[in-house]
């Protein structure tokens, strides 16, 4: 589904990702961990097509295409979804209006009929119930004045409505209390399907108690320095990143 080979990415001519290899197959959940500033969000943004994030080397394939030429909206319509680490506020735009525009825009692109206001409301209320998010979310302005936790929940709601094929969650679990964490877990587990894949960028292994990943990768200084199964997350939690001895190894690719 996603095949990343020797990916190098620069932002403002500064090399940030320095040779990432990552293959995600349909049905899989991958966790990406790593210290602050290691390039996790950069990887997430480059997948979503953020302008200014330049691929300088290597390849990035999604389904049957090379991703780089495609606009963010084209990627979204092809099923890529990014839950932002820092969701953006759009004042005055009701959440419901935004969700319906986004969903209909994607449906239109796939040749599916648009949902009218009534069908949409029924559909979105089902999603809210499933996630146990309050209906009042729909009528508030998009992320405006939301608390950190509400913003993260809203990202999960968007994911549940848009039903992407590849979802990337960038530290959606950071700073959440246990109830909000469960919302994230419910969203991810509900999305889990044989033809979908999920990448969880996370700091803590806490989320991985609710969502069992197929693979865990450690990103440091722009490279994946170690990959393993969920035990790697537990080990990291117990021993900390220091255990990986990153400083001494950052110049050479780490052999996992």
């Amino acid at each position: 589904m996603l095949e990343i080979k020797d990916l190098h990415v620069s932002v403002d001519d500064k090399a940030i990702l320095k040779g990432i290899d990552l293959t995600v197959k349909p049905g899989e959940i991958h966790a990406i961990m790593g210290p602050n500033g290691s390039g996790k969000s950069t990887l997430a943004q480059v997948l979503a097509g953020r302008e200014g994030y330049r691929v300088t080397q290597g390849s990035l394939r999604y389904l049957d295409s090379d991703l780089p030429p495609f606009s963010p909206e084209a990627r979204a319509r092809a099923g890529i979804f990014l839950a932002f680490q820092y969701p953006i506020e759009i004042p005055g735009v009701a959440n419901a209006q935004f969700l319906r525009s986004a969903l209909n825009s994607q449906r239109g692109y796939r040749g599916e009929p648009e949902l009218d206001a009534f069908d949409f409301l029924e559909f979105v209320k089902g999603r809210l119930a499933m996630l146990e998010i309050d209906d009042s979310f729909l009528y508030r302005s998009l992320n405006e004045g939301f608390s950190g936790g509400e913003k993260k929940r809203n990202e999960i709601l968007q994911m549940a409505v848009l039903e992407p094929r590849l979802a990337i969650l960038d530290e959606t679990d950071s700073g959440l209390d246990i109830d909000a964490l469960k919302v994230v877990a419910r969203g991810v587990n509900a999305l889990r399907a044989p033809d979908r894949a999920i990448i969880l960028v996370t700091h803590y292994q806490r989320l991985l108690e609710y969502i069992v990943p197929d693979r865990v990768h450690v990103l440091a200084e722009g490279r994946i320095v170690r990959s393993g199964d969920r035990d790697l997350a537990l080990e990291l939690e117990a021993k900390g990143y220091g255990w990986l001895n990153l400083r001494n190894n950052c110049e050479e690719p780490f052999i996992p």
Binding site: G49, E51, S71, A76, I88, G92, V93, L162
Partner: protein, 480 residues
């Protein structure tokens, strides 16, 4: 953002720019007392009206164009304009729709304003003003049953001279300002509304202004009176053909709300804005003022200004009656080389008067957008309160927004609050929305509509939808 690609969208054409081919009765160019007399004669006006026009004309001769605003334009030669142009019909005004030239009806249909009374705008009574004269007023009979008078101004002068004489110029005197004086001398038509005591007008009243003829100034005059306890919601829309030369539009609107009366006046202004290089477009110099003449009177102005090369207008409220309320909600958009200097004046005279100002300025391309507002609280206005919110949204590095709030408070107990923000349309906002599948146009529209929401919610439903569409068209690709 890829500027070139975006610029490509910028050149969307003005969709209302066609010219109607119709026989016109036009006075020769130029302005002198004879022209004023001729206009008055053509309308068969009573003597008081001609007197008033002549006084206005003579006063106008002593005045000079105001230069205090931020708009810049080449000098206007008032002798090269036509001051009267009307579609040739049998006589002065239309008696019924059947008498209206079918070509005119087609024009309004093209503009999406069906004048047939069973048309799509059911529930909205329309007065259509083509160049200088009113061509059709719908639902007139139905309104008359309630005692509501809604007719072309020229008809009101003849049918209801006492009302006109009592109220004309009582809010905007003929000496008010250069453009208002000019209008007072040469105005040719407009709408007149009178809502009697205790009557709530059951439908929106609407005037649709269309400039068609070349080199013709348009000077409409609207007078709306809501008698004690009356209510009316009034809507004004306007378009003009695409022409290379600039055209002058200098209108006056006077509103009078007596005790417990309420007038809601909404404008969707879409005069031809000129082309991408700033050629052509309407010069829109408008004086609009409402007088809350009785206790608890309430006047709201809502405007969506997307058209015109130059917009110079300050719909204002005189809060004379105790507990009276004035409101001004405005969205002004300038793209390409458009200039807008718009805002309001809230004059607090009565006790416990309240005013609210919400101004949303959007500047794209090389557009320049200024809010200019005065909140004046006189010593008599015990307990007066004002809240002003001015927000500007810049869509391009070459656009400009300015805020000029003037505050004069003579009563120490008054509460006057002013908030202002300026923001740029954020790349992170666009990316966020695009990453959900919206294309750039959709994302921009969503952000802009969100920005204008507080104003749009003041518009009657169908016009809010219209205003949103208009904004979308005016902004196509305007992010850079």
């Amino acid at each position: 953002m890829d500027n070139l690609e975006l610029q490509r969208h910028l050149d969307t054409e003005y969709r209302w720019g066609f010219v109607t081919d119709i026989e016109q009765d036009t006075l020769p160019m130029g302005l002198d007392e004879d022209v004023v007399r001729l206009i008055s004669a053509k309308k068969g006006e009573p003597a008081f009206m001609l007197d008033w026009r002549l006084k206005a004309y003579r006063h106008w001769l002593t005045m000079t164009e105001p230069t205090w605003s931020s708009v810049r334009y080449p000098a206007i030669d008032y002798q090269t304009l036509h001051y009267y142009s009307a579609p040739k019909t049998r006589d002065s005004g239309p008696k019924s729709l059947a008498e209206v030239d079918p070509e005119l009806l087609r024009t309004y249909e093209k503009l999406g304003i069906p004048l047939a009374e069973r048309g799509a705008l059911a529930g909205v009574a329309v007065d259509a003003v083509f160049d200088s004269v009113s061509v059709a007023t719908t639902f007139k009979d139905k309104l008359e049953q309630l005692g509501i008078l809604f007719c072309p101004f020229s008809e009101a002068v003849i049918k209801y001279p006492e009302l006109v004489q009592q109220y004309l110029g009582s809010v905007v005197p003929y000496t008010d300002n250069f453009f208002a004086s000019l209008n007072s001398a040469v105005f040719s038509d407009g709408s007149f509304v009178y809502v009697p005591k205790g009557v709530r007008c059951p439908m929106e009243l609407s005037t649709y202004f269309r400039i068609n003829a070349r080199n013709t100034g348009q000077f409409e005059r609207t007078l709306i009176i809501a008698d004690e306890g009356g209510y009316v919601s009034y809507l004004e829309g306007c378009t003009a053909p695409t022409r290379d030369e600039n055209q002058l539009h200098a209108a006056v609107v006077e509103l009078v709300a007596l005790q417990d009366a309420r007038i809601k006046y909404s404008t969707v202004q879409n005069w031809y804005p000129g082309d991408a290089e700033g050629r052509g477009g309407i010069y829109n110099f408008v004086t609009k003022r409402g007088d809350c003449r009785g206790e608890r009177a309430h006047i709201s102005w809502t405007q969506v200004e997307t058209g015109s090369a130059i917009t110079w207008k300050y719909p204002s409220c005189i809060l004379r009656g105790d507990h009276s309320v004035g409101e001004f909600y405005s969205v002004a958009l300038t793209n390409h080389h458009q200039q807008a200097d718009t805002g309001t004046k809230m004059i607090h005279i009565g006790r416990d008067t309240r005013s609210t100002i919400v101004s949303k300025g959007i500047a794209a391309g090389y557009g320049s957008n200024a809010y200019r507002g005065l909140v004046k609280v006189l010593a008599t206005a015990e307990g007066a309160r004002n809240h002003t919110q001015c927000d500007s949204l810049l869509m391009s590095p070459t656009s400009a927004a300015h805020t000029f709030p003037y505050i004069e408070v003579r009563n120490p107990g008054a509460i006057v609050e002013h908030e202002a923000t300026t923001s740029r349309i954020g790349e992170d906002q666009l990316f966020y929305l695009q990453s959900r599948g919206l294309d750039e146009e959709e994302a921009v529209n969503l952000i802009v509509n969100g920005f204008c929401k507080e104003v749009f919610k003041e518009l009657p439903m169908e016009f809010a939808v219209e205003a949103q569409k208009l904004l979308a068209v005016s902004l196509e690709g305007a992010v850079g």
